[in-house]
């Protein structure tokens, strides 16, 4: 039986879709059978982030309205074995799907897949309710900004009231240099405020924009810091114990050399 994980945040633009794409691809690369479900009806984007936008025939609304069979709507990613996408409808709105239909869909997908990763829309309205309806677990994405953390807090409260226990936190777009000089909230600050367990920290990385340009998730890029962070998160989702990575690798030449020779930076 597969597990349904919803990726949510409350605030828009913090990296839900990128996170969904990278976690999903990471799990597939690790040999799991994965389906990504885009529930952002009317504003679908997971297809372009995954580079699968030209292959859409049917979508989520077609499936719940039974215009097509589930199998017909699933897009197989030819680059990674065992990775599928169920795209959102672009010309409908969030009320086209009901929570009961999502629960039914998730139950059906559980039979086929190890992991069902749901990309949740921003906001706390119908789209959010649909996205979390069938979920077993939730991952809350935030960035180290007041607005994003505030919205994450609200989402954590709503997940709790929907009986989705133990949500896990991803802090995205962390800039180690800014944290160091006291101009960005640290991971500890954010965890302290939100009071939920951390599952990963993703550094702010130009490679994410480059990989999104190309439609190739950064998780498969060995040179990308964010890619490494997503690989770690993937392992933690599968139950492995992986330590948090050191974000300070973008320092100057000296500290790089020191690290090379095994001298701990001060």
């Amino acid at each position: 039986m597969g597990e349904v994980i919803v990726i949510t945040s409350g605030k828009g633009g913090v990296g839900k879709t990128t996170t969904t794409a990278n976690i999903g691809t990471g799990l597939a690369v690790s040999g799991k059978k994965v389906v990504l479900v885009d529930t952002d009806i009317g504003l679908r984007n997971l297809d372009v982030v995954m580079g699968l936008e030209n292959r859409i025939v049917y979508d989520l609304v077609d499936v719940v309205e039974k215009t097509c069979r589930l199998k017909q709507a699933l897009i197989k990613d030819k680059r990674y074995d065992g990775l599928y996408l169920l795209p959102a409808a672009q010309t409908r709105d969030k009320n086209s799907v009901k929570p009961e239909q999502m629960i039914e869909l998730c139950d059906e997908l559980r039979q086929e897949f190890d992991y069902i990763i749901i990309d949740c829309p921003a906001g706390i309205e119908q789209g959010f309710k649909n996205a979390i309806a069938g979920a077993d677990r939730a991952i809350v994405v935030t960035t180290p900004e007041v607005s994003a953390v505030r919205d994450a807090d609200r989402i954590i409260g709503l997940l709790e009231s929907q009986e989705i226990r133990n949500p896990r936190l991803i802090v995205n777009r962390v800039r180690a240099d800014m944290v160091k000089r006291g101009d960005m909230m640290s991971i500890e600050d954010i965890v302290d405020i939100l009071a939920i367990g951390l599952i990963g920290v993703v550094p702010d990385d130009e490679q994410i924009i480059i990989s999104t340009n190309k439609g190739e998730p950064a998780v498969t890029d060995n040179k990308s810091m964010a890619g490494q962070a997503y690989r770690n998160i993937t392992k933690r989702i599968m139950g492995e114990d992986v330590p948090l990575m050191d974000l300070n690798t973008s320092d100057g030449f000296l500290s790089k050399m020191k690290r090379l020779f095994g001298i701990k930076p001060a």
Binding site: V146, G157, R181, I193, A195
Partner: protein
């Protein structure tokens, strides 16, 4: 220790501390799901009771609705945290 250094050097509060402080305040209201009037009512009732027994500093009294990890660490639970500075004890009640 770092705080002490900052104090000695007279350094300004960093912007992340400002962010954290502002967040904490805004979350009190977000989390409580109750009106500020409700909290004011609770506050004045608490003051009334305590004042029967001790003198308190009403201006710096601070009552917040917040969240904390439950004892088993498995869940997040709401908590009412009150910080009530006491100026002195009263003789009443003896």
């Amino acid at each position: 220790m770092i705080d002490l250094f900052k104090l000695l050097l007279g350094k300004k509060e960093s912007s992340k501390d400002v962010a954290k402080e502002r967040l904490k305040l805004v979350l009190i209201h977000d989390r409580s799901n109750v009106s500020p009037q409700f909290l004011e009512m609770v506050k004045s009732e608490i003051i009334k009771v305590i004042q029967n027994y001790m003198e308190i500093d009403e201006d710096s009294l601070d009552i917040q609705l917040t969240r904390t990890s439950s004892e088993d660490g498995e869940r997040v639970v709401p908590a009412l945290v009150a910080n009530i500075p006491i100026k002195g004890m009263k003789n009443a009640g003896r």
